[in-house]
Amino acid sequence: MMKTLAQERRQRLAVAMRESGIDLLLLYGNAWQADYLRYGADFGILEGHGIALIATDGAAELYLDSAVEAERAEAEAPLVRVHFAPDIARAVGARLDRLAGQRLAAAPRRFLPHYLADPARGFALDDATALVDTLLMHKSESEIAAVRRAAQIADEAYEVFLHSVRPGRRQFEIVADVEAYLRRRGCPDNFMIIGSGGKDVLGMTPPSERRIAPGDLVTTELTPAVDGYFAQICRTLVVGPATHAQQRAFAVFVEALEEGIAAIRPQARAADVARAENDVFRKYDLGQYTTSQWTRVRGHGMGLFADSKPHLLEDVNTGLEPGMTLIVHPNTYHPEAGYMVLGDAVLVTERGSEVLCRTPRRLFEVAA
């Protein structure tokens, strides 16, 4: 990735630390929750634990408990001093023991190895999660550019998905095609789940051995990353011609997505977007399908994590501001059609929003 982006992030982090009186910041990461670590250490961790120590001058040290990850970090993040530490918690603890009198903080603190957060240690770690969350949510122009490129690749990858789905193919074979396309494009990471079948399907999961059948609804959430920044697209297709019931149901999702995006503007709250989406379902007496029994969130932030803050839910009052990137997706179950998904990546702008995905909001049909 461009070193200017990594340096820019580190500089923002150092400024925020100085303003908060933090002398040293620990950023924890693993392959699931990798964004805090990547923000400060510019390393996309895949295996084991990683902990970056960031100083107020922007200098970064990275501790990794996987030997192959440490070697990879040396090659991929040359501006960071890398340490391989099989017992990472004790290695970092020993380092912190030497920093008496300094104010230490960690993010996300709840994920830190228990050993480091234990009150028995000779040091205390304040919780800097909210501080780093603010930086993760508010993207610079360079970060937005990466999300835009990821959204473009998401559109292209959905085209690959459309061509890959045909009767008889198994779900994991379809995902293999999409992943291969992304690697050809030089895109090393993706978050992707899939669903296929009829009204018995309640959501999406990793791919199974289930074979695509005529009449299936096939759903996917596809989320490639560029320079570590994820952008998501959600679409639904039918194998064969869509029924009137499926078309009617899908129209609700289109309307909900449009209303959700229309609610995005500076000063609006995450809750306003979720409410705008859900009001459409309520209008059609489908309000129960907006609850946690049927759906997890109505969208979420996107960035160095595929499922970033803020979550779009009616009880999340995070204010939206220019530079935030979101996926708005009113994905849920529809009693007449089954589980459907539809979502676009969106940038919050000074005047409202800009949709980053270009794929038509259609209920696609592929040959049965």
């Binding site: 990735m1 693993n30 392959a31 699931w32 895949l46 295996e47 084991g48 634990h49 408990d65 996987s66 030997a67 192959v68 070697e71 990879r72 040396e74 090659a75 991929e76 391989f84 099989p86 017992d87 918690a89 004790r90 603190r109 709840r110 994920f111 830190l112 190895p113 228990h114 050993y115 480091l116 957060a117 234990d118 994991f172 074979e173 995902v175 293999a176 095609d177 992943e179 291969a180 396309y181 690697r183 050809r184 494009r185 030089g186 895109c187 090393p188 978050f191 992707m192 789940i193 309640l202 959501g203 999961t205 990793p206 791919p207 199974s208 051995e209 320079d227 946690s292 997890r296 595929a306």
Partner: protein
């Protein structure tokens, strides 16, 4: 996140295999006077829970609770909408859903076993701090003990099912690496990854040293990378919870042939490291002790943290110098019993 095939095979991992593992664990728990055992899982540290219950999380986190008397159950942060998927891909007595998995697990143990039950926690020091706090909040009178050594002891020696799964993972990796063709590195990586996923890989990570004349360290390729006359690829493959690494150098055929033979000769002498003493620039042995699938166990760059146990599965990799060329090579291996040589599971070529 995992996005390969996650599925339970009753042929490759029958109930009887999991039952025997649980029996061994329960006997060890009884000796240690533990009333219950708790193991954490996420997509980075899945290997403890997958070994006992076949559950592999594609995302999020969970705790497996194994009562000394009673069926193991999962407390998952994933929502109940994926309950049927979890049940389909795992073998569990029950699945409970709660975003605070530590709190729920502790409440469950305190309620069903005893308020002051003694609970072993695998890798307690490495448990996420928020979950450790929640365990204490949910069971203020529970007694928590680290159970890492107990767990490592019972799972170190691979059983036949584990060896079979690792051999299959190695075969997937080897076959995938044979698909390394095309004009650019990205096209090669795409072909390898597609083949591995089509063959049922749960996960595959490809790292490359694109030009061994300039750099022998492996990196994940983002964007484009220019290929040298000799280069190496490392495939890390998971298949139904078994993880292996295979490293192959693409270079002049004489050298390419020599390297695996010299490597296999050195591996055969494990757990002694003397096979790597001459002709190797570096070497690394990884294996699973607790929850991390491939943990560094010994290597040229650090002091051994854990003695290699007879009958353990490991992944070995090394770098040789042959005729002035740096040649990385690697393969999974099975360590021998007393007086037996270790053996690679598959030829990396």
């Amino acid at each position: 996140m995992r996005r390969g095939l996650i599925s339970r095979s009753l042929t490759e991992l029958p109930d009887a295999v999991l039952d025997q593992r649980l029996d061994r664990l329960r006997r060890a728990m009884a000796t240690a006077q533990l009333d219950a055992l708790v193991i954490y899982t996420n997509n980075t540290r899945p290997a403890g829970v997958s070994w006992l219950a076949a559950f592999v999380p594609y995302w999020s986190e969970a705790l497996l609770v194994v009562p000394r008397d009673g069926a193991p159950y999962l407390v998952a942060a994933l929502t109940f909408r994926v309950k049927t998927w979890i049940e389909r891909t795992s073998r569990l007595g029950d699945v409970l859903h709660n975003p605070r998995v530590g709190l729920k697990a502790a409440q469950q143990i305190a309620g069903a076993v005893a308020k002051n039950a003694v609970v072993g926690v695998v890798d307690f020091d490495g448990l996420p701090a928020g979950i450790a706090d929640d365990l204490r909040e949910g069971g203020p009178d529970l007694v928590f003990r680290d159970a890492s050594e107990l767990f490592a002891t019972i799972r170190t020696k691979a059983d036949p099912a584990e060896i079979a799964l690792a051999t299959k993972a190695a075969a997937i990796a080897r076959h995938a690496l044979t698909q390394a063709s095309g004009e650019t590195l990205n096209v090669m990586i795409a072909g390898i990854e597609r083949q591995a996923r089509l063959n049922g890989a749960e996960e595959i990570y490809i790292a490359a040293a694109p030009d061994l004349a300039r750099e022998a360290r492996f990196a994940r390729i983002e964007g484009e990378a220019a290929l040298g006359r000799s280069f190496a690829l490392r495939a890390t493959v998971a298949y139904k919870g078994a993880w292996v690494r295979l490293v192959r150098t693409f270079c002049e055929s004489d050298i390419a042939q020599q390297a695996p033979a010299r490597f296999a000769h050195a591996v055969a002498q494990l757990p002694s490291e003397r096979g790597f003493a001459s002709g190797f620039d570096s070497w690394l042995i990884e294996g699973c002790r607790l929850t991390q699938p491939l943990e560094a166990l010994m290597g040229s760059g650090f002091a051994a943290t854990t003695p290699l146990a007879p009958g353990a599965l490991v992944s070995a990799q090394a770098t040789l110098q042959i005729d002035g060329l740096i040649v990385p090579v690697g393969a999974p291996a099975l360590l021998g019993g007393e007086g037996e040589a270790a053996s690679v599971l598959v030829d990396p070529l």
